[in-house]
């Protein structure tokens, strides 16, 4: 019954004339060519390149995927695009040096302002700042629990995960981890989070209800300075971008044991997964490429040339 329903809806979507615009895409920010590459999810070819401003880094979609947000670090703003028509719709001031951000299920954006030791909350529809939260030095990664109740902001120079209660926007706890925490991800339940520490080359697994580190694992490679971390769809494995180790490290989500290293391009930082969990996309900064990983085999199936120093990546496929 459910299956039939899904089929009917799918057919209905295909028959809708809008379907030609709402195609699945991967968006990549190119930090040093000041543009974003738009990759067709089906052909895995770059179909468009859009100039967006000086040093685009963080990138994300609105909860309904109708808007694409790009942090333009050197211009202190967020640019809003239509991910279907690829038109730039508007922009808004987003505090000093916006780097990464997370989109809350309620539509608001949580931004780390690297220069100001704070995180700020914006309504991207109005461009209005709703709140400001004081955090440690060089705030970087932002992760939001799927239920929207917690936000993690990592501070690189203060070595902490700041756990913010949302939507109250007050700090609930501060968890000291290894040197230069860069990114984090929540499980679907929100009970567990994983975070990377770049300089100490570690991944930590954190109990979010107790604000306690459960496990710390080294990536076992002196060059592995991890950045992004994402969870497989079944949440049994995590994918960690290994930086200058030029590989993705696949780890058991429970034990944090290393399962596999997948060689990709040079200085891999950004990671994103397709909605069906079958593809992982990586940004390889120094190589100027995106690697496409098939998560069934955990192998690279395609390498795509993009702009200079690709940084962030997001998949739009719903």
């Amino acid at each position: 019954m459910n299956f039939l329903w899904i089929r009917l809806v799918t057919i209905a979507i295909i028959l809708t004339p809008f379907a030609t615009y709402a195609k699945d895409r991967i968006f990549v920010t190119n930090e040093k060519s000041n543009n974003i590459s738009v990759i067709d999810a089906e052909t895995l070819n770059v179909e468009h390149t859009i100039d967006v401003g000086d040093r685009p880094r963080g990138i994300g979609l609105s909860p309904d995927s109708s808007e694409l947000y790009v942090a333009i670090s050197e211009e202190n703003k967020i640019v809003v695009l239509d991910p279907n028509s690829l038109k730039i719709l508007r922009d808004f001031e987003a505090g000093s040096d916006p780097e990464t951000f997370g989109v809350h299920p309620n539509g608001n954006i949580y931004i780390s302002n690297e220069d100001d030791a704070k995180a700020s909350v914006f309504n991207p529809k109005t461009g209005k700042q709703l709140a400001e939260i004081k955090v440690g030095l060089e705030p970087e990664g932002v992760a939001i629990s799927p239920d929207g109740k917690r936000v993690i902001v990592t501070s690189e120079s203060t070595n902490m995960l700041h756990v913010i209660k949302a939507p109250e926007n007050v700090i609930e706890s501060n968890i000291l981890i290894g040197s230069r925490p860069r990114a984090a991800v929540f499980t679907k339940s929100g009970d567990i989070a994983y975070a990377t520490a770049e300089i100490s080359g570690e991944v930590v697994k954190v109990d979010m209800n107790k604000a306690k580190i459960l496990k710390t694992a080294s990536l076992g490679d002196a060059k592995a300075k991890p950045k992004d971390v994402i969870l497989a769809k079944d949440e049994k494995t995590i994918y960690v971008a290994g930086g200058r180790a030029n590989k993705i490290i696949v780890m058991d989500a429970d034990t944090l044991e290393i399962i596999k290293g997948i060689p990709v391009g040079k200085r891999v930082w950004g990671l994103a997964m397709s909605g069906d969990g079958q593809r992982v996309f990586t940004t390889n900064g120094v190589s100027g490429t995106v690697s496409v990983i098939d998560t069934g085999k955990n192998e690279v199936i395609k390498t795509i040339e993009v702009g200079k120093f690709p940084w962030g990546v997001v998949v739009k496929d719903n």
Binding site: G136, L137, T158, N159, L176, I199
Partner: protein, 268 residues
């Protein structure tokens, strides 16, 4: 239990839990030297940053500044570490007076002071030999260059040095240099250790810094101390106020590590 009593008990429990949450550890530093010296600005930057972290983790860092004339009459027992811009002779006499307290040398570059291996002196300033070794490496790569060897440069970007340079400039309206970097680094490695280990006694701090430290000094990640008390660090090579490269220089440095720079062993 009467309502009044339970209310009282609740109050006591409530207040005591607040006390626990607000238990702040006070950590005291002292700076000895010229109060106009650049190294002191770096120290102040380090203290500011440590307090920002301490706000989240429950530490409060204090700084006292004292001129070198007052060293002998001073009671140093409460300080976690002594930060100095002194010459060799003053530094040695201070270190002997203090025994097991970490004494940071922020400015003196003499090689003999490293060879002496005085147990409680930690040299943040690179030695003359480290700088000359760096220049020798550069000469192989680029003969006839007229470079300077430096511990820091305001335009250094790598290892998030860009962020530190920006923060410092914003705070003091001057560019970070070798001495201000050294002051910042000494405070940062000490306060990081307090946050991570809860060490608050100077002798435990000295042991930790000398034996277990891995420091992210925003110019390379795995900085630690040699037996000589010298901080292992890369050297920035600068020509006409522009960074040419950093030593150890890849393909030239022997061994291909930070130990291609400077004195590795003690005199005896």
């Amino acid at each position: 239990m009467s309502l009044k009593k339970s209310g009282y008990l609740f109050c006591v429990l409530f207040l005591s839990s607040i006390n626990i949450a607000n238990a702040v550890t006070e950590v005291d530093f002292i700076y000895i030297g010229d109060s106009e010296h650049d190294s002191l600005l770096g120290v102040k930057q380090g203290i500011d940053e440590a307090n920002l972290q301490g706000e989240f983790l429950g530490q409060k860092y204090n700084l006292e500044i004292v001129s070198k004339e007052k060293i002998e009459e001073y009671d140093f027992s409460k300080y976690i570490a002594i930060l100095t811009s002194l010459d060799s002779k003053q530094l040695i006499s201070l270190a002997k007076q203090l025994n097991n307290t970490p004494v940071f040398n922020l400015t003196d570059e003499s090689d003999d002071l490293r060879r002496n291996c005085i147990a409680n002196i930690l040299h943040i300033a690179p030695s003359n030999k480290m700088k000359s070794d760096a220049l020798k490496q550069l000469e192989i790569k680029k003969p006839a260059s007229k470079a300077n060897a430096q511990a820091w440069h305001y335009s250094f970007v790598k290892f998030a040095a860009r962020d530190l340079n920006k923060r410092f400039k914003k705070n003091f309206q001057v560019k970070m240099n070798d001495h201000s970097w050294a002051g910042w680094a000494a405070v940062k490695m000490t306060s990081d250790t307090v946050a991570r280990t809860q060490i608050t006694s100077p002798d435990d701090m000295l042991k930790y810094l000398k034996n277990e430290l891995t420091f992210d000094g925003q110019k390379g990640s795995d900085m630690n101390f040699r037996v000589t008390g010298q901080l292992r660090q890369l050297i920035i090579l600068v020509e006409n106020d522009k960074i040419i490269t950093e030593a150890p220089i890849r393909g030239i440095a022997k061994p291909p590590s930070l130990d291609s720079l400077g004195i590795l062993e003690c005199m005896n």
